[in-house]
Symmetry: C2
Subunit: 457 residues, 2 copies
Amino acid sequence: MTTHHATPEGTPQVTEILAQWVVSMKGRDIAPEVRREGLRTFVNWMGCAVGGASHETVDRALAAIDPFSGPRIATVIGRTEHLDAAHAALINGISSHVLDYDDTHLKTIIHPAGPVASALLALAEMRPMSGEDFLTALIIGIEVECRIGNSVYPNHYDRGWHITGTAGVFGAAAAVGKAIGLSRLQMQWAFGLAATQASNLREMFGTMTKSFHPGRAAQNGMMSALLAEAGFDSSLRAIEAPRGFACVLSDKQDYSEILDGLGSRWESALNSYKPFACGIVIHPAIDGCQQIRAEIGARVNDIASVALTTHPLVLELTGKRTPQTGLEGKFSVFHAAAAALLRGDGAPTAFTDELVTAPEIIALRDTISATSDPSCHEASVTIDITFRDGTTLRKHVERAIGSHDVPLTDAQIDAKFRTQSVLVIGQVATDALLAMCWKTPTLADVADVARASVLPS
Amino acid sequence: MTTHHATPEGTPQVTEILAQWVVSMKGRDIAPEVRREGLRTFVNWMGCAVGGASHETVDRALAAIDPFSGPRIATVIGRTEHLDAAHAALINGISSHVLDYDDTHLKTIIHPAGPVASALLALAEMRPMSGEDFLTALIIGIEVECRIGNSVYPNHYDRGWHITGTAGVFGAAAAVGKAIGLSRLQMQWAFGLAATQASNLREMFGTMTKSFHPGRAAQNGMMSALLAEAGFDSSLRAIEAPRGFACVLSDKQDYSEILDGLGSRWESALNSYKPFACGIVIHPAIDGCQQIRAEIGARVNDIASVALTTHPLVLELTGKRTPQTGLEGKFSVFHAAAAALLRGDGAPTAFTDELVTAPEIIALRDTISATSDPSCHEASVTIDITFRDGTTLRKHVERAIGSHDVPLTDAQIDAKFRTQSVLVIGQVATDALLAMCWKTPTLADVADVARASVLPS
């Protein structure tokens, strides 16, 4: 552990040190593999934002906020509307999270891109910036967000805070603050304004308000940086003060998680991308069932029964035997396995009301059993198939796709992007948008990506 | 204690019951004296909002948010600018709190009107309502705010939450939800959206961000109600759920404070109005010194020394001997007493940089001593004056003006209003505005008050 400036009481000057790091970090000093992961994060986020854009949660939020929009210079991703940049940050943050399909920092369960990318891309439509500068600010914002999350996790999350919102508002403030060139003092103020707006409760899970969280964190983080830029002052010790963020919202305050290895060890590079549109615990079962389908083809129609051997959390969290809706389907390993076997699907299309109630899915689903095995790794599963002719097949997945050990390849991120985006903006616009996303590092104006994300008129 | 519907675990359905009360309460069932106090609250708030409107805190916030304003249909009180209603709620909430001169619910130290009146009056400029309906919604919003505050105070405040913001967002949501006619279900959603935005840290005290709190609570509460109106759903048990507001943000949850005597016992009628623009502990000293000045006239120039005998909190909180700035002057009982004796002033004009450094004030200030007496009531003081000719004068204040036992009269609220408002919008506009404020119950369109509050162009 490195040493840092500390107060007389021994608490380091966390806010000041972090602010200084944000304003002084150079994009060229971020290692290529870290920048590459930042780009993958952005591509994955954009696919999710387009994919969620037609959800009724977004419709309703838009209806409420539309009469308050300022100059409509920013794109509502995946739609035809435009809004001021702050409201666009809100709506795009909602869209990117509403399908529960976005990125995950596995150590904290933060979904990092929602608050940060939503704020930064909307800002880029009012304050133009290059793709390079955008990626630098995005990576720095996510780094701040995940490190602040690490410093209070798990106690903070266990108390009931939705950490994507509470840490996210700092990440959005850092990214926007970096992009607009705040001084260290202004960045401290921005952290103060972010800290005092850090909220969002886990009680809201299962309602539209869950998706509101990354959106509002994006909007509030952006405005924190812009207020600071205008000279609106705030505490200089908002993270570590006795009545600051970490002490008030958590029983754990490990500031070494924020300060150690800044600029050399990158939490942002640990980001992961869900291959399937549901809780991570049933990903091994979906992965294994998709592999089986790829191997046996039409014989999926001859399956008599399926026996899953899984980590105990699978049945604890997703043991719903007879889901009735798409949302309930996300909490049924039986439905998820059936959809993967019969349709090869783990995307949002696997969790629609229609598919959950389709007779052939239900018929297969009801032949599936699951056994908890405490010795089974969270990223593993064993699947035993018995066919109608009595023959059997065993598939063991040692580490599922999307886990820490088997990250999505770029091609898999592409496939995930396409599956979502085509349904919302069509094939042609999807192809163009995806190609442009990967070219972000070379773009003179990153807002071109936002403008390419809309429904063709 | 009355009984209420309860969950199997014994926790009453606080959110549902409170929402039902908000939507079903009729203005005509609010007793005249409660309505009268609501009117006094509104008049006092408007004077503070005009008085604070020229503060640089407001200038800086306006500079940052102006580029994001939607249709400029709402008044920025005390100024020439206009904003969309949500941003007007934010700015007016800042203005009304920035001089630390607004109203106080003494049981919780909530400043009730800031979040609620700021939201409701701005809303009235986009959705017209009568003065009667405005007062009904204002009183109901403040009632919700103070009851929710009571349910978690003091533990919640002691942990570090600025309760004016955390409880205020519920009050603003309730007032706006009442005014726009939400259903019970929508009102529950609005409370969910408010709960998940309840934030604001005491760490921000002493910075501009403190005033941001009631403003943001007003804006967020308003948007919570408008999102709910558009069908944006949320938790139905946001206040009492295990991961809801009261459990996550407080160690104390006394739901009887929220539910008991709803509609018969009124917290809103306990609101109080500061006579002086500083912390309440030095009000007795200012009151006594003003009385002495009124009695002895020019002999204030013959004072040799002053000895105060005060409650111990006075020196603990306001014992600054040599304040250098107006803000520091608020934490100096010596300055405050000198300004009251020499100028008769306890308004914001008593706490300017100029007055704090004026030679004649400093000369008298340095003759003042203070002694803590644990037997002295918080609202009392004894002042012993010694004149240069050796004669003495004793003044004992049993209960200071503005305390629970000696509320400000309407005439004193008027004087407080005028002192602040004249400096910002001048005498003529002040006279017209003050007269209109008192006529609120008879106004067909309460937004006329907002429109009368501006700088004449």
